[in-house]
Symmetry: C2
Subunit: 899 residues, 2 copies
């Protein structure tokens, strides 16, 4: 349809809920309710397309727009039985913006539009209440000045509080008609002074200016940035709703309220809301008078309550979702002002969805679609008791969800000494940032708090992986590790070692002292919903886990296997690190093998634990991946130490030992370790490492078999970029596994697969597949190489800037880069399955737990996603939704269905 010739102004009765793109969210629901026969004050809607045209014309109304408005207004006048601008029986209107998608930063409401010196008098006469009329008038001038004329609200506020002060009163309600009249006249003087123009008396001019203000608010930098950040289309435009005013403040037979068809906090199927008699909507929000629970209305005005309850039931039945409604009672008559799908807590979302399915209102698939996967993250971690009163001293990034309480410690070693595995105290590790050497301290802590680093900083990533709450990049915190203190900038708050802290990784709050926490609850509804989800999903969900505890937890959260068990975390254990270092410093293969032999029983017991925890389910064990220098002290530290030693008197033996380590670190150090000697490249040079690990895996499995268990180990070779690497290592793993089988007499089927994390592996996936029983995408490294982003560096150095500037819409380490990395993922699937049509393909990078990415993986044809245990339920839900959306799209294509 040619936009220019399209109808630009609709009466409520001309629209419907299906016209959201034309009439906006608010408008289409007003239209729908009007046509449902509900009591709606009459009104008109100017379309979103008119707004676009206005902006395209350089802030000019499309030709004929105001004529159309005037025409529609005639009908509204007729229905309301009043006339806009009439000196006897004036129609007053509200003007509100309403885009197809709810958007903060858009123009607020202007109420009481149409008032001027003439209509005001009529209002006084009609209401029989001078105070009411002047109150309406001064509110109108204030709102109009504020939102239409762009004046500072503060300046109006000064006049009002000046008057209250002069009169010695505190509340607006203590001002009488004369006071408000004076305030209104001072307001008008202010407008003239600030804008250089008299306050517009002509109601049509007022209306025109208000419509323009709504249109303009679509195009402010703030609104544009908001849309960019939220991936909303810029060409939606906003509608303008012009509606006859009704007043809840016309006396004790008037009132106003908001209500939900169900409890938005718990989901309970009971009308829920509050109201105030003799009040306007803003009075409910202002919180000066305490609103009453809706149930009271049943006693106060039983007929109205009954009528409202019926309307609520009708609306929920009509929309098949919990509704959030606004209403006004004007002189004993109920008016509905708004209905929309109600915002709810995660718990309520789950309960409402499941209940509605049981009530027969929606199908299981619809129920699944009603809950946002990201939303349920909140249900899976400990939280600060919602009832507790808290005053945060600072706020950082919500880097790893969940709340934690503990004593502040300032080094990883202190944390390890005092915390889990040490003295068993509950500690919070407070630090500028963390490094791989701090892992032991992080693991011993209840939570992590850093002053530097973003959502993908080391602390954030590791904490998420460990499921430990983390507040990162809390830059108001000045941490002094040497003094073991942290000062909150701009305050006199100093956190010292041992002080008790509470942090909330779900929203980034930092609180001094202990706050009560509540445990996550997997309610029956939640479980049920996820079972429905599993029944629908084409993909299944596994977890990334390196310890038996995490494996067990993941299983409880519904994981159908382990998609990634990293073996290097086992190497990092403080008991083992010296042996690992011995292995690295070994000068000969024999010395290396001797050190590896010491590590083997430890690895075997690790594997036994995990395989036992996942009994009957597959466990993909990734052989050693990081470069060896990661297990040695840092070059920087060694350099300083050795330089210092050369000044102090130091035992020659000690010095030489240190020097030897320095030399080895130098030898192993790399310009770009990410692209260096790691993964399968290590094993090509030192095959004995993978030999040891493989033997440990299969010996563990054999022992479990003998104990009557059913372990399902699968071996994964990391960082393969060339089929020849995989061919060599596959042979080695197979040989070792077969030796264990021969030695123990326990027979297995086992798979040997590879991580796909180098672009070349995707590009040559048809070759790689020939040596692989499965593929598992490592999207973390694949993103690093495909984009040329070093994850450790990019975040602070340019990634945040890129997102701010809109170069990237998302952090590609959180949401898969669909156009780049995604293309490689699809190519890998296509080429791999060309060779092996049933090749098992999954993903185990961090994006494996992110809903939009999961939808992509579903479409790409993957068999499963694997993510950290806490994201398993989210992933289950997202996988189901992806399946359902695909079905719906298929139906649309075929021409069936669609609302």
């Amino acid at each position: 349809m040619d936009e220019k010739n399209a109808k630009k102004v609709y009466l409520f009765e001309e629209g419907s809920a299906k016209m959201r793109d034309v009439l906006g969210g608010k408008g289409c629901n007003l239209a729908e309710m009007t046509n449902l026969g509900l009591p709606i004050p009459p009104g008109l809607i100017i379309t979103c397309q008119a707004c676009n045209e206005y902006n395209a014309l350089g802030k000019k109304f499309p030709k004929g727009l105001m004529e159309d408005v005037r025409k529609a207004l005639l009908v509204v006048e007729q229905k309301a039985g009043k006339k806009f601008g009439d000196a006897k029986n004036p129609l007053l209107v509200s003007v509100r913006s309403g885009a197809p998608v709810s958007m903060p930063g858009m123009m607020d409401t202007v109420l009481n539009l149409g008032l001027n010196e003439a209509t005001l008098k009529a209002l006084v006469a009609q209401a029989g209440n001078e105070r009411f009329a002047y109150d309406a008038y001064r509110r109108f001038i204030n709102m109009f000045g504020d939102v239409v004329l762009g004046m500072e609200h503060k300046k109006f506020e000064e006049i009002l509080s000046g008057k209250k002060k002069a009169k010695g009163v505190k509340l607006d309600t203590e001002l009488d008609a004369a006071d408000l009249k004076e305030v209104a006249s001072k307001y008008k003087a202010l407008v003239e002074k600030e804008t250089g123009k008299k306050f517009p008396e002509d109601p049509m001019v007022q209306l025109e200016l208000a419509i323009m203000a709504v249109f303009n608010s679509w195009d402010t930098p703030r609104a544009i940035t908001y849309r960019k950040l939220n991936r909303l289309r810029n060409d939606m435009g906003t509608a303008v709703n012009v509606q006859a005013m009704v007043f809840g403040n016309m006396g004790n037979d008037s009132g106003t309220g908001v209500a939900f068809t169900r409890n938005p906090s718990t989901g309970e199927n009971k009308l829920y809301g509050e109201y105030l008699m003799n009040a306007q909507g803003e009075d409910v929000v202002a919180g000066i008078r305490t609103p009453k629970p809706l149930i009271q209305l049943g006693k106060e005005m039983p007929a109205i309550y009954k009528q409202f309850a019926e309307i609520a039931k009708k609306l929920e039945g009509h929309y098949k979702d919990m509704q959030d409604m606004e209403f006004t009672i004007e002189k004993g008559k109920l008016w509905m002002l708004q209905t929309r799908s109600g915002k709810r807590t995660a718990a309520a979302a789950v309960k409402v969805a499941v209940d509605m399915e049981k009530e027969g209102r929606i199908s299981k698939e619809e129920a699944i679609m009603r809950v946002q996967p990201e939303h349920i993250d909140k249900l899976l971690h400990r939280q600060i008791d919602p009832k507790a009163k808290v005053s945060p001293v600072a706020k950082g990034l919500n880097a790893s969800p969940g709340a934690a309480v503990g004593k502040a410690v300032f080094t990883a070693d202190d944390a390890a000494k005092a915390g889990n595995g040490g003295n068993g105290e509950k500690v919070i590790l407070v630090s500028v940032e963390t490094t791989p050497e701090d892992i032991h301290g992080m693991a011993a802590s209840q939570g992590i708090l850093t002053s530097r680093g973003g959502m993908t900083s080391h602390a954030a990533v590791v904490a998420r992986g460990m499921g430990i709450p983390c507040v990162a990049g809390c830059d108001k915190l000045k941490v002094d590790v040497s003094k073991k203190t942290a000062t909150v900038e701009g305050t006199n708050v100093v956190i010292k070692e041992g002080d008790v802290l509470t942090i909330d990784g779900t929203d980034g709050r930092v609180i001094i002292g202990e706050v009560p926490l509540v445990d996550p609850e997997l309610t029956g509804d939640f479980e049920e919903l996820l079972k429905w989800a599993d029944a629908v999903s084409r993909m299944h969900v596994r977890a990334n886990a390196d310890t038996p505890k995490n494996a067990l937890d993941a299983r409880k959260f519904g994981a159908k296997g382990i998609g990634l068990c990293r073996t290097e975390r086992m190497f990092n254990d403080p008991d083992r690190l010296p042996i690992v270092q011995e292995m690295i410093l070994a000068g000969t293969p024999d010395a290396r093998k001797a050190a590896l032999a010491k590590l083997k029983p430890m690895q075997k017991s690790d594997f036994k634990g995990i395989l036992a925890a996942m009994d009957g389910l597959p466990v993909i064990i990734r052989l050693l991946d990081p470069p060896l220098h990661e297990f040695l002290p840092k070059l920087e530290d060694l350099l300083v130490e050795v330089t210092k030693m050369s000044f102090h008197k130091t035992d020659d033996r000690v010095f030489n030992e240190k020097k030897k380590i320095l030399d080895k670190v130098r030898e192993l150090s790399e310009f770009n370790p990410m692209l260096g000697h790691r993964g399968c490249r290590l094993a090509i040079k030192y095959p004995e490492i993978y030999e040891m690990q493989t033997a440990a895996v299969f010996e563990a499995a054999a022992e479990l078999r003998k104990e009557g268990r059913n372990p399902v180990p699968e071996v994964m070779i990391p960082l393969v970029g060339n089929v020849n690497e995989l061919a060599i290592l596959r042979k080695l793993v197979k040989k070792t596994a077969d030796e264990v089988i021969a030695k123990t007499g326990v027979k297995f089927n086992y798979m040997i697969g590879t991580m796909i994390e180098i672009p070349r592996a995707c590009l040559t996936a048809d070759e790689v597949a020939q040596e692989a029983d499965f593929f598992s995408y490592g999207t973390n490294d694949l993103t690093q190489t495909t984009l040329g982003f070093s994850r450790d560096d990019a975040e602070a150095k340019f990634l945040q800037l890129y997102i701010k500037e809109g170069i990237l819409s998302d952090n590609p380490f959180e949401v898969l880069d669909f156009d780049g990395v995604g293309k490689l993922v699809e190519m890998g699937v296509r080429l791999g399955r060309k060779v092996k049509p049933n090749l098992e393909i999954g993903v185990c990078g961090e994006t494996g737990g992110e809903p939009r990415s999961i939808e992509f993986y579903h479409k790409a044809g993957l068999n499963y996603v694997s993510c950290s245990k806490f994201r398993v339920p989210i992933a289950r839900l997202a996988a189901a939704q992806a399946t359902i959306r695909e079905k719906q799209a298929g139906k649309k294509k075929e021409g069936f269905g669609d609302s």
Copy 2:
């Protein structure tokens, strides 16, 4: 054809030169010559396919093979007028291997096969020369024992030298018949002792064993490794040639020789060779007697010489290429034993090709195909005078071609002080390895010699780029920088500062003292051939150059533009580095701009020089690429310095200054700088850097225009992975350029393009192309990211191992990784041209100068390749050959042509 039923034994007269895959190289030429009617001793060939079958059967002869051999032998006997194993008139044969491709490590020749006690007597009688016959016999036993029975040659040698010693003589020729008889009998005893079996007397058994030995030699580990390294197919197999013996040592009317149809060293069109009378082939090689130049034969045996010269002419005419021939004269009769395409020097290759075209023997395209591109590298650098006698003390990798003479210096600073730009002495920089900070010293040196690092080490890469000879990884050299000495391991040679050295980067030789060098000559023939090449090529060739001198040189070598002018090398200049550091340490954009303003006139004069040198040809200027920390001192060094300062008494101001730099370096330092904050990412954060550079480019161009020149600048944005980056920077460059145009009043057309060096840029090339006027593949970085190989780390840590193990066939930084990176290159071309069908696309990575890669780029549809100036002629030739090969393949497909 079913291999098992194929003919397995051919008589010479049954074959032809086209049957190389069946009869091997030697055999097919013997067949061809036989059919040309030349005097060839009769013989038979066992096919390569028989060899494959033998190996497939587990080292067993295919059924009926020896029967076929016997049948063919009957014909040979008939032609020779002798009978194999006959006690009166015995036929003796030679047995030689001959694969389709010449391959060292294959079985050598066995001569005189068929001799035993009985046939020996007949030989004595027939030759009338007992000494000749016993000499033939003892040689046969030795060769048979050595190459067929696998005995050590040394043990035969001991018997022979024992006899000479006992007799008090030095030369074999001083032994008489009786002596040789005794030697032969001792040889046979040795064979019996070593093998536990008597020496085989039955000639058919001898033959069978010799054929087996040839077949076995195809499958030795050494041969397999050779084929792997040289990318030769494993399934070719080798043929066996069995040929009637003729003897050049039957008296003074006998002789033997080798000859070329033209001079293989200069290419001069004159028969060239040498011969010995009364000798066997091996005597010519042994070098005991000095062979005579072939021209002498014209006087000694004019008829034979004339006959040989005619045959040579005929063969060259027939094969249309210079031939390398072997002949024997037996009792006044000439026999041809071999002909093949003659090996020649690069200079000869060029001259022969051009001459043959002029003689009307071959077309221009054939002439172009006759010269190997890699081969002519030798013609483009100074060389050690081939006439000079040299004794190298060590050998390293031939890292950058050309020879150099100079005094040894051991630090970059010393080199800079003494060398070019300093005192003007000729110096050779001797070092363990080099780093980016040594650039000034490297530039001041005649050559670089390092003890560590491979073909892609910093020294090698930079030296090649600068065109400075370099011998790298010379591990016999123990360099002690603190003492300024280098010791040659295993010798008492010590190189001290100031000692004169000669190095040859073309073959890796290191020589003490000065050796005379000769300058490269671009002969008229060479120039002519390259002109023919340019006329044929679809792609053109540009050069990578950063200085006016290099640009001028490149132009002389035929470059049609500059494909990559790196601006960071200009930042590295010692005069400028302090200003660059000032810019980096700047705390505010204003301070940064102030430092940039100081750099601008310098950059402008650089650009002016290069644009002037390339007047009328395009110059692609890449804006700043490396991470900023590359311009600051190394973290390691600073750490040690600052730590030391804290022990010494140091001026606070100096300490704080140093500390400030350390802090900045820490702030800028990255885990993986290759994937870090560099390229366009720098400019997104600090747009003023690219602004300054762009202004400098266009102001330089405007000034040149005003001087009447025709500069053609093109601006290239590096490291783009997302079209949004390019869109932002394109706008910035355009704005700056247009400002210069407005200010100077000089109008330009200019292009703004991007380097394609991140996989994502290839994957989204359709998007990127929308903002790019041209693409230039940076295959160095694209290889790093696509393979996940850090170039600086990979070489020593695992790349050499990968090549040795056959995981990779080539170093992917030298030869494009066709299957991985190549796929991305093709995708980039396809997607880019989908959006802009005429998009100019080139390559400026190191592979841009490598012939096999150039062929790939041709096929991918690129417009040009760009490489270091010294490789420009190579690239021109390779580009032409790629075009010709494509044409030929097209013709083949159409069913025309093909020999």
